[in-house]
């Protein structure tokens, strides 16, 4: 493991009786994307705000890029950027004014600042909207200008708090492209998300947090493995043999097999991939023809269910129209 970009020990923060963050230990190595995955209210934003020096921890320690977030807050602020969960740009100003404002605050001259703002707007596909007030932007455009605002000075580390929540799939893909671009240029990204597939797609390592605590940590592969090796899906030529196939598989795999919606198919969760070959051989020996089989990795949804005992919250329900 390389140099650590973020290291926290026993980080805690309470709001009255709510233990928003109840002892978080993180070790995030430099480079790559670190995903913090958790449902609404898990303590993701509170954690990020402490790491970005916006909130003082009640207890515990945190170092960001080697600097203590309390004692050396200013050094941290110089090197990191935060794109908050909610728009952190001035909606009354235009896109270019927002970026120019930040450029000036970060020491650019008026002329260089304007150039930098224009370059960023171009790179984020916002050139056309440069002179429009941000309040007139679409959701995806807002998210992009928000991220662009965090890159006026290229940070060593960027915090993205739920960067794609509420975005349509196309805008979400654009944000993913930006994240990948950032990593390619050497910026470390810590992003929080409620979406399991997002963490799976982007993050090299994932911390799953719930009720202010890290309940699992590892690569997405490791997390999946901790739940089980996955499941075996089998499709038969003759649906009438399904009951018999169920019996054979259960015996060979040592776990119950379950019929699928497809009348000719069934599946079984497996603990040991080695047994799969033997199970398939048993089927053929019993005269059961298999037309298809697939070995599926468990989804992160299953991971979450196993880890927390409750399913991860889905996207907030749309009001029935």
């Amino acid at each position: 493991m390389g140099k650590l970009a973020i290291e926290t020990r026993g980080l805690k923060k309470s709001f009255g009786k709510t233990h928003a963050v109840a002892g978080v230990d993180l070790a995030v190595s430099a480079g790559g994307v670190y995903g913090v995955l958790g449902p609404n209210g898990a303590g993701k934003t509170t954690t990020i705000r402490m790491l970005a020096t916006l909130l003082r921890p009640d207890a515990g320690e945190a170092q960001v890029l080697g600097y203590d977030v309390v004692r050396d807050a200013r050094s941290v602020r110089t090197r990191v950027s935060l794109t908050g969960q909610f728009a952190s740009i001035d909606e009354d100003l235009t896109g270019v004014e927002n970026l120019l404002l930040l450029a000036r605050l970060l020491g650019y001259s008026r002329r260089r600042g304007r150039e930098r703002a224009t370059d960023l707007l171009d790179a984020f596909g916002l050139a056309e909207a440069a002179d429009r007030q941000v309040k007139k932007y679409s959701g995806g455009m807002r998210r992009r200008i928000d991220i662009a605002a965090s890159l006026v000075v290229t940070p060593e580390l960027i915090f993205l708090d739920e960067p794609t929540t509420g975005l349509d799939p196309r805008s979400r893909n654009q944000v993913w492209e930006i994240v990948r671009g950032l990593v390619a240029e050497g910026t470390t990204v810590l992003l929080t998300t409620q979406y399991l597939d997002e963490a799976d797609q982007l993050a090299d390592r994932i911390a799953v947090i719930d009720h202010g605590k890290v309940i699992a940590e590892g690569s997405s592969g490791q997390l999946k493995a901790s739940v089980g090796a996955g499941s075996l899906h089998v499709r038969l030529r003759n649906p009438e043999q399904r009951a018999e196939a169920e019996r054979v598989l259960a015996a060979a795999l040592d776990v119950p097999a379950e019929p699928s919606a497809d009348p000719a198919a069934l599946s079984a969760r497996i603990s040991d991939p080695e047994r799969v070959a033997r199970a398939l051989a048993e089927l053929s020996r019993g005269g059961i023809d298999v037309t298809e089989f697939a070995l599926g990795q468990p989804s992160l949804d299953e991971v979450f269910l196993t880890l927390t005992g409750h399913p991860s919250e889905e996207t907030p329900k749309e009001d029935a129209a």
Partner: protein, 281 residues
């Protein structure tokens, strides 16, 4: 103006362009506190440009008060509207300015609710600069309000014996006091949760302060206990100072009082505000 069609036509985020901006990113020298405060002041001006409605309180309010008081009460209070105007106008100027300062707290509270302050607070800039900048921007509002009141006064027949020097000097001192008083509202906006509660509390403070003073009426005819209250009200001193300067005298004692209270306001509420700001959740 159709954003979506142009967006669809060209891929919004191009890998090459993104790589270029990330690589080109320089690290300019960090600007000083004056520079960052002025930049935040520039932001306040941009906001006035984009949302000119926010100038309603600095334009309509003083005009309404001047006209109402002059013509409703002028005759009764001072014998003639012309005479009353000479007394009232400096007072209205004071009232307009201190009332406008309340808006500082309301604006700031709205700002904080919106999350843009999170970004400012996470920048490596002198910490008070967003607040100082907002207050600098407010100076423009005070000046606008003052100019409107004085111009309206001149049209109606206000004749300051102190001439331009007296007027400019009194407005300058008034602006300095207003800037210092704003720190009280800034502090309040960090304590209270909503812009409405900030507005409510500041009204509760400012209404009695401006009315129980010598802004509208000379307290001579009032009962002794009332005169005593009016005498300790800082707004009274402010109004007496502005009145004196505009009409050609140099009320040294009052000027001293105003300057000292300005310094005290910042010395007390400035640091409290900064502690609250630093620890804001």
């Amino acid at each position: 103006m159709n954003a979506t069609s142009t967006e669809q036509a060209s891929p919004p985020v191009t890998e090459d362009a993104l790589r270029r901006v990330l690589l080109a990113g320089e690290r300019p020298p960090r600007p000083g506190p004056v520079s960052t405060s002025l930049t935040f002041g520039w932001r306040a001006l941009l906001k006035i440009k984009h949302v000119p409605e926010q100038l309603v309180d600095v334009t309509m309010f003083p005009i309404m008060f001047t006209l109402m008081f002059t013509y409703l009460f002028g005759g009764a209070l001072a014998g003639s509207t012309q005479e009353y105007l000479q007394f009232l106008l400096p007072g209205i100027l004071v009232q307009a300015n201190v009332m406008i300062t309340m808006n500082t707290g309301i604006t700031l509270n709205t700002d904080i609710q919106k999350g843009v302050f999170d970004r400012f607070r996470s920048l490596p800039v002198w910490r008070p600069s967003p607040l100082v900048g907002a207050l600098l921007g407010d100076l423009v509002r005070y000046s606008t309000g003052s100019a409107i009141v004085i111009m309206l006064g001149l049209v109606l027949g206000f004749r300051p014996e102190g001439g331009a020097v007296g007027v400019v000097l009194s407005v300058a001192l008034l602006l300095a006091f207003s800037f210092c008083l704003s720190w009280l509202w800034t502090m309040l906006s960090l304590i209270l949760r909503t812009p409405n509660s900030v507005a409510g509390v500041s009204m509760m403070v400012m209404f009695p302060l401006t009315f129980v003073s010598n802004i509208f009426v000379d307290p001579k005819t009032m009962p002794g206990w009332m005169q005593a209250i009016i005498e300790v009200n800082p707004i009274t001193h402010l109004a007496t100072m502005v009145r004196g300067l505009m009409h050609g005298s140099v009320p040294a004692g009052e000027i001293g009082f105003v300057l000292v209270s300005s310094v005290l306001l910042v010395a007390v509420f400035g640091p409290i505000t900064m502690v609250l700001y630093r620890n804001k959740k």
